[in-house]
Symmetry: none
Subunit: 404 residues, 2 copies
């Protein structure tokens, strides 16, 4: 049995770029390691979820790990919370939250607390607490935005918002939408009262009032969602594994799937990330475990920035960093692809298929010599992302026999 390394260049897929004389960044880039891997291995295309599906990184990473988002995706709430760095476990609930200004009667003065830009880190920390064995964790986002995750037994997402969605209205009591929500609604109402007390008395807000700024003295909650119940990775595949990613969302999904999280601040999730470090960590993961997924985010960042040359540069950096993986061909099945396409001229995700390569000793080969959106046509693979894990299991000698 071999081990499996799955390398995801986020937003990798692209379309012809004018500034690259009609080539895609992958076609333009000098990437001898990827080209060698596809020449000695297999190439082709991978459809994110299904042909033409314009996935986000959340749905596509779920699918890449073999969890069909059409079954398990519970909406953006939990994934935004994970994106802010709140790890969730199956059954936890998450809210999108605003730091807001509320008067003594409980009427909302400003849903965005004057678009507060400083101090939310301290406020979030102050109102992260335990109540009756339930943990409440708040993490701030940009300006007034934040997320709240509640962890504990038997939580329900069948509850209403506390956010009245309009200034001048009173903060809403959270109520149960169906019978299962009663206990959770009570619990969160109690938490919000306590959080309000703490926020009102907090130094950040006392200082804001002194400066004539609106205090961030309430947390408004909306869009509750439950973390998907994923079958733990090691139960699903009989392999222990780790997730290496610079951005919190991908680490959150890995954690939810039961993968170990390998992280270091030098993995920044942007252009300045330390790719060599990621690959080094991956190799040491594979010494003890059977599976590793690495996400390289900066290809997607360059796509969103519309910077084709930058995308080329990121691809070339990743290609240099992965050179040590070539020597693992005997023991490991290595797959390289993206989670979705982010064409530079669109600056957003598209539903285009992804180039895919699979490299290992002794597997079949095909006619691919270059790893890009055009030459992978000469490859043998045409897979939906949800079938990739099963295909890699088969190549690594891990596919359980179905029948006799």
């Amino acid at each position: 049995m071999k081990k499996i390394a799955l390398l995801i260049l986020d937003g990798l897929g692209d379309r012809p770029c004018n500034v690259l004389h009609g080539l895609t960044p992958l076609q333009f880039a000098y990437k001898p390691n990827m080209d060698r891997m596809i020449s000695e291995g297999q190439g082709g295309f991978m459809y994110p979820v299904s042909p033409g599906t314009n996935t986000g990184s959340d749905t596509s990473h779920l699918s890449l790990l073999g969890y069909d988002p059409r079954d398990v995706y519970t909406g953006r709430g939990p994934f935004e919370a994970m994106g802010l760095g709140l790890l969730m476990n199956p059954g936890d609930i998450a809210f999108r939250a605003n730091f807001a200004t509320v008067d003594e009667s409980g009427t909302v003065i400003d849903r965005r607390a004057g678009r507060i830009s400083e101090g939310t880190e301290a406020l979030a920390k102050a109102i992260s607490m335990e109540i009756e064995g339930y943990s409440f964790r708040v993490r701030p986002g940009v300006e007034h935005r934040a997320a709240l995750v509640v962890s504990g037994p038997d939580l329900s997402d069948k509850i209403s918002d506390s956010d009245p969605h309009e200034a001048g209205k009173r903060v809403q009591e959270i109520h149960a939408i169906d019978g299962s929500g009663k206990k959770t609604a009570d619990l969160v109402n109690r938490y919000l009262k306590e959080a309000g007390r703490i926020l009102n008395a907090h130094g950040v807000n006392l200082k804001r009032k002194k400066e004539g700024l609106k205090p961030a003295n309430a947390l408004l909650l909306r869009g509750v969602g439950k973390a998907p119940l994923l079958k733990p990775f090691h139960e699903k595949y009989g392999m222990k594994g780790s997730c290496i990613a610079g951005i919190p969302l991908i680490r959150g999904i890995g954690h939810l799937a039961g993968l170990s999280i390998v992280y270091d601040e030098r993995m920044t999730g942007s252009y300045d990330s330390d790719y060599d470090l990621k690959v080094k960590k991956a190799i040491s993961v594979l010494e003890n475990e059977d599976f590793v997924i690495i996400n390289f985010k900066a290809t997607d960042v360059a796509g969103h920035d519309g910077d084709a040359f930058r995308k080329v540069e990121v691809i070339e950096k990743v290609d240099r960093a992965i050179a040590p993986l070539l020597s693992l061909a005997k023991s490991t099945v290595i797959a390289i692809t993206g989670d979705h396409s982010t064409p530079c001229e669109m600056k957003e995700h598209s539903g285009d298929p992804l180039p895919l390569l699979v490299f290992s000793d002794g597997i079949r080969t095909d006619f691919c010599s270059y790893f890009d959106e055009r030459h992978t046509i000469m490859g043998s693979l045409r897979l939906a992302s949800g079938d990739l894990m099963q295909y890699l299991l088969a190549l690594s000698g891990r596919a359980e026999k179905y029948g006799a």
Copy 2:
């Protein structure tokens, strides 16, 4: 409307073999007929059930005939019975069985009757009988192993084992696991009593006792399973058809699907099988019927034996044998593929896709010139095994119009 011939080279797919200088057996073999068929027809890949699924011959043949094993596969019990040559009809139940030694009090002395190796054929025959309109058929396997099939109306598989699974324990009364099993449990208990009487008095056992060997005086039953309820082939496709196979499992599946069985002892299911005879029989089937499936087993045997040269030899023999089919192109759609891959260097099944060719007059062509795991990349076909029959129906002018 054309007729359809589906040729399955069992375990055909392979990976690069060192002894073949990195070629697969199909690449290495001289097979001018298959190469001509794919050159004049269509080529590509077929995924057994779905990409990366590591199928057995049972699940994959069900799928090839258009019966989705994910819906109809009822576990190994009935398929092991069919593998021993017991034809089953939908609704029949099958047990795995041991010939065992039991004392007068009903306590198991030896679950394997001293690993009895001779005489089980006669014993099985002696205890194959009818009781109250139900037929009980026993067929021996290797040593003490056997299978029992019970046929008749309203049988249930919701019943327990008689096998106590341990020497020193008493043979169990079979009991119903739910209400539906009562009648079947009673019936099988009555049969086992009668079978015990016959076995105790049987010449084979009298002789064994005289020689100081443990008598095979009881049949222990376990792992009951019901034969899948398959929609009869002629109802499903509006075609009568036949199944030609050397090994009992495939004949069993064909029978279960309502195909006629064409068999001759010269079809051995191994290296010495008479391929010319199979092809001759297939041609005469097609004179009266619209469909024939032929299974050539020896490619799989060579894969399991790890003998790449032997696999090459089998492929070349089959290729010579199918020459007469080339002249049927006007009247028949001919497909050649495998049921799963059995790479010689693995000596077991893998989840790799199968090369596929389809040959007939007047169909589209593509860029395939060679029928193997590499050159079929140049072909047009990428099908899951469960879609193959529908595709062949369409090529033969038999696909019912869907819509107007």
